[in-house]
Amino acid sequence: MRHESLRGLLLLTPALVILGVTVAVPFLFMGAMSLWTQIGFDYADDWSLRNFTAILTEPLYTTLLLRSLGMAVAATFVTVVLAYPMAYFLAFHVRSNKLIWLIIITLPFWTSYLLRVFAWRVILGYEGVINSGLMELGLIGEPLQFLLYSRTAVIITLAHAWAAFAFLPIYVSLEKIDKSVLEASADLGEPPLMRFFRVVLPLSMPGVIAGTFLMFIPTVGDYVTPALVGGPDAAMIGNLIQLQFGTVNNWPMGAALAITMIVAITLVGLMFLALMYGLRRWAR
């Protein structure tokens, strides 16, 4: 027994060391820095909560944080709702060549993230695919301005760029469902729609939850997409954090913002889990 636990520890060691060096230590350093104050090119290590007070009281920070959470929720919701039918189709209705279907569905992920974001500029732009198409058809007199440089543009781009992160976990959990369970439910006289809501959906919830987290967490802090397709009204907290470490040159504030963002993501995540737990209990 002792031998086995030792072996387990040994197997874990590389991962723990990497985690410690690349996550825990920088995080502690960031925590310390968030309590400092930037003065010119130097830091005053006066250990104050000034940065956090500013974040909680100044409308700029709270607005951008709430906006980022809202936009990430919207993008995640759109993606999960669109990815679920695709995954369902692939799991239950495709019998042969599943690999080819998987490759086709995840094909956009073979290109760089930046290229995918840039592609949306070409689609949504002033003389882009949508605008020139609509003009050609004579449906609009002049290009639609709201397509690019708007929150909608950011949500569309995020939903597309991260789609595979929601699709794959949902597909895996649907694929795992024992088909005989479905047959049993049919034999017992459940109509198809009820079968979906009472059997398939609950069994695939782990995949939906995993997909939601995989998509929600990174999109809250995304700064590339709002920078390229966002425009003035769609700036997100990630843009502000990036500026603190660049032009604005206030690293302690950047660290404090990053920590606040992590806490906010955790809170929203916990709320989502609680909601899912409540739904499950209610459904029983």
Partner: protein, 375 residues
């Protein structure tokens, strides 16, 4: 993004990887990508200097003398704005040369990251226009050298579409505050340009820019402008394309936008606002711990050469620091490029920014970011 222009650019063979990455870099995606390139270069031990500069200044035409001597180009790293570059240097990034503007010198020197440049090692130094480097803060404590070798000079002003923008009266900064064209105005994203231009618009004298009243007055004009702005960006490619397609009718730009659009036969003018444009001189500073100083001096000499200047002025429309470059162009050409045989004509006719403290800079940038975000 303009598809027809991209397709025609691809046909002409001018749609380059450089133009694409330049766009990415300019919107602040610098740290993600450019982290890799120079480090790999150093690891290979090429002995080439690393030049940390703006996108568009990494082209072979500017380094012909260097290539002749060393057989290949120096290494490059690209920033979106010089302040980003400074932040990278301060966090340990090793470059030999970096490309800030004249007003930055005292503040940058105070970081202790730079060394004076020995001008006796530059064969082209005798031709450099003295007006461009003889500033007290560039010469003091420099051991007879300079802190910054001047390279390019020009103006920050307004490029507007002469066919789409209905000019009433004289050219003025009011163009960028014209409510008739709400949603069709472009702005530069860095305060280094925008804040000073807004000071001109607000009528704040530059020597009083470090006062609470000045901050309030400038913030007020920028806030009033925000609802009119289509987007804030430092990506000149985006601004040029938006101007070319008519998405924007006017934008705050540097000389090069107007020159490039004129080459493409888009009807634009680089305005000479009656209140005066913002004028600037930029150049190169050498880091204290430059890994390849000898190569860096060769880079500087190549940049100061007449051939580099001919390209910089002829193709980008910026002034060059070598006096002999101006002899290659006649007065008409120079006027069309909004340059002059005597740089002082242009530089003193407009407003030159005055060096400020790091605290001022932080306050200005923080406030400008707030305004851009809508507060």
């Amino acid at each position: 993004m303009k598809i027809p222009s991209m397709i025609s650019a691809a046909k002409r063979g001018t749609l380059s990887r450089r133009a694409f990455t330049q766009s990415l870099l300019a919107v602040g995606i610098v740290p993600v990508i450019s982290q890799v390139a120079p480090q790999r270069a150093r690891a290979s031990g090429t002995g080439h200097a690393t030049v940390f500069t703006w996108g568009g200044f990494d082209v072979p035409e500017l380094y012909q003398d260097y290539v002749e001597k060393h057989g290949e180009l120096p290494d490059f790293a690209i920033f979106g704005a010089p302040e980003d570059g400074l932040t990278r240097l301060r966090s340990g990034f090793a470059a030999d040369l970096i490309h800030p503007c004249m007003g930055d010198i005292p503040r940058w020197r105070s970081t202790g990251l730079f060394q004076p440049i020995d001008t006796s090692r530059l064969s082209n130094w005798a031709d450099v226009i003295p007006d461009l480097y003889q500033e007290p803060h560039n010469l003091e404590d420099a051991d007879g050298g300079v802190w910054q070798v001047p390279f390019d000079w020009g103006q920050t002003s307004i490029t507007y579409r002469t066919d789409l923008y209905d000019l009433e009266g004289e050219e003025s900064w009011d163009i960028l505050w014209d409510e008739r064209y709400a949603g069709r105005i472009g702005m530069l994203a860095t305060g280094d340009d925008a804040w000073w231009c807004a000071a001109i618009k607000a009528g704040v004298p530059f020597d009083q820019i470090d006062t609470d009243e000045a901050f309030e007055a400038i913030a007020a004009v920028l806030r009033a402008q925000r609802p009119l702005v289509r987007t804030y960006t430092d990506d000149t490619t985006s601004l040029n394309q938006a101007l070319a397609s008519g998405e924007m009718v006017a934008a705050m730009t540097w000389n090069s936008s107007a020159v490039e659009l004129t080459f493409e036969e888009v009807p634009v003018r680089f305005a000479q606002p009656r209140e005066g444009a913002l004028t600037w001189v930029c150049g190169f500073m050498m880091t204290r711990d430059a890994p390849n100083p000898d190569s860096a001096y060769d880079v500087l000499d190549a940049l100061l050469s007449v051939s580099a200047g001919e390209f910089l002025t002829g193709d980008y429309g910026y002034g060059h620091s070598n006096a002999r470059v101006l002899d290659l162009f006649d007065d008409e050409d120079l006027a069309a490029l909004t340059l002059s045989r005597d740089p002082a004509d242009i530089l003193d006719a407009g407003h030159r920014s005055i060096p400020q403290s790091a605290e001022w800079n932080a306050r200005m940038n923080t406030l400008y970011e707030q305004i851009k975000a809508g507060f």
